[in-house]
Symmetry: C2
Subunit: 381 residues, 2 copies
């Protein structure tokens, strides 16, 4: 089996699982219980949160552990009630949250890049949130978050000069980027950052929202007052410990891994490009996740290709995992103006820890064979 769908899910790192296991058994205590064993569990939880905060360049009390990126995104949008701006290629969670506010959805260029000046033009007097993902989950395009940060900061300064206290925040969903890109909140210049443990070889159903002290967050879930009253519910101790370990491993190996994946991806792209001159590669040629390859075969059926490759032991995605099983065309591919004929023949190949020279070579051969066969079948060559 060759797994080429790391953007949809990653296997938990064995070291992450080992870090978590004690909290399922010996250290199962409720971190709010009063005896020393439980107090130690609370300390381990806080230490893990502290490590997570440090790894994104924030403080412990700026981090809220959630049940995943979707909850984090909803929590970020819950901090504002005015106008919001996002892009046409965001994850459904961001787009759905934006729809619950007065909103502007800015378009992207053919490579899926958000144009900072479009964001700037979309800012209205009551704009309170700009939410842009670090990297797109379908085509891998990496956005100029730092430039967006400067625009938001400039607007914030302008308002301050006008004694206008309407807040404006920049939220960045870095779920897809964290494995390969720097997610330091200060260097990105964001006010809120979403991360997803399940995308970086950590436990699933764990995420975080990092929130600068600027932001006035309102809870979505009320109760016992955990996470400084911002997210109630008994703390996910094992999940947080696992997330911290995953983020630590990720940060340690990020540079090397990003290079490794980019080399493998470039070779794969080059071979597929050579074999299929009509294939369309989407995503920015330069500003793109190293492990991402989005390729379209005009006139072929992406879902059928997934099935054919699966029979040969190669696991790939059509669009994003979130919309892939709904039978609708990807909003991302529509936004970058791929024609329906091209979009419908798309595969997303995403490399990661399970990828190596050997299995990428094998996958390349299999993909070329299957696509060639399919092209013959439908009379495209």
């Amino acid at each position: 089996m060759i797994y080429l769908d790391h953007a949809a899910a990653t296997p938990m790192d064995r070291r992450v699982l080992n870090a978590m296991l004690p909290y399922f058994s010996d250290k199962f205590y409720n971190p709010s219980s009063p005896y020393i064993q439980a107090v130690n569990v609370r300390r381990d939880y806080e230490d893990a949160k502290h490590k997570i905060a440090s790894l994104v360049g924030g403080k412990t009390d700026e981090v809220i552990i959630t049940a995943g990126a979707t909850e984090s995104i909803n929590l970020a949008f819950n901090s504002v009630n005015g106008h919001v701006i996002t892009s046409a290629i965001e994850h459904p969670a961001v787009l759905k949250c934006a729809l619950n506010h007065d909103h502007t959805i800015v378009g992207v260029d053919n490579h899926g890049l958000v144009e900072p000046n479009q964001i700037k033009s979309a800012i209205k007097p009551d704009t309170q949130l700009v939410s842009i993902a670090l990297a797109n989950n379908e085509i891998g395009t990496v956005q100029p978050i730092r430039e967006l940060s400067m625009i938001v900061n400039e607007e914030r300064r302008r308002r301050a000069m006008d004694s206008d206290n309407t807040p404006i925040y920049l939220h960045c969903d870095a779920s897809q980027g964290a494995g390969q890109l720097d997610v330091n909140v200060a260097r990105l210049g964001v006010d809120m950052l979403t991360l997803n443990s399940g995308k970086i070889y950590g436990p699933k159903q764990v995420g975080l929202l990092w929130v600068s002290s600027l932001v006035k967050l309102k809870p979505l879930i009320f109760g016992g007052g955990q996470e400084n009253g911002l997210r109630s519910g008994t703390e996910n101790v094992a999940g947080c410990i696992g997330f911290a370990k995953a983020l630590e491993l990720m940060t340690e190996h990020r540079g090397h891994e990003a290079n490794r994946l980019k080399k493998l991806r470039d070779k794969l792209q080059s071979e597929l490009s050579g074999a299929f001159p009509d294939a369309v590669f989407s995503g920015h040629p330069k500003h793109r996740l190293g492990g991402h390859l989005h390729i379209s075969f005009p006139g072929l059926d992406g879902e059928r290709l997934v099935f054919l490759l699966e029979k040969r032991g190669v696991m790939v995605a059509t669009g994003s995992a979130c919309s892939a099983n709904k039978g609708t065309r990807s909003h991302v591919l529509e936004a970058i103006r791929l024609s329906p004929e091209v979009a419908d023949g798309s595969l997303r190949l995403t490399l990661g820890h399970l990828s190596n020279d050997d299995n990428i070579n094998k996958a390349t051969t299999i993909i070329i064979e299957e696509i060639t066969g399919e092209m013959k079948r439908v009379g495209r060559c």
Copy 2:
């Protein structure tokens, strides 16, 4: 170590962990991915949900898997916008959610029992929700949910006769009761039921809200549209598999276990009662969880007792784990009119899988020794 705090947290059953482990490694796929391995993971997830639904007497599409009881409760309250009724001894999650609505908080008797007629009298024309826990987490009192159901149903019929389409629902948080009481939704007669996997030897940060088809639920968390659009976010496959296993084991052994714990608890109560004639036992003498023992030693300091017992290897709680570490007096003990002097000397001993004849005998001896010593110290005997 003798663990007497099963109401705060339970260790995960080894069989539950074994059922979950494959979904952390080999079966880590995103259930929305299109290839057969991921489709199989989706099927396993749906099968687990189906099992969970069957075990509470509901249908699969009536169950929403959440990140725990607190989220489930918030989701239940999100289904209504009118007046809500709850009791003074509910979990903070219920009380905080009630405060976000027009609300009536009914009192309880000295045993912590909700009086159905008080609920009936509190119903107003725009009452949309009655939310009462199956069993109280501090004193173990079990509420007459079936009687409350008849009251809510009667009001529903009355409204229907008047062509009044204002809905009214009964929500029951059965987080504390599920280990020892029947949680069949039809037999309870509820419209919504909350369960918490972490209280029944399943994984933490997993819960469910069962919702009858009567209820028009509105999502709290928007995104990819998972859980029939009612709770977005990649499904918690491992968590749901573990929850199903825990609920299955629980259901299988519930009757036997409830009896076993009741016998152990009654023996413990009888010995402590004999040794300390002035001790006050709270919770209903008859309608009470079998494994629950709430005991107060007037004039002693509960927090100090926890510390003394911890040094002897016995882990007990003062109030509820949720409020225990906040330095405030328990709202439950206030509601049952325990005087501050009595309330402040309270311990909650909750038995469970880790309890047996041997360690309960040992704990009894240690508790008697420590309390006796403490009474001498403060001059109470």
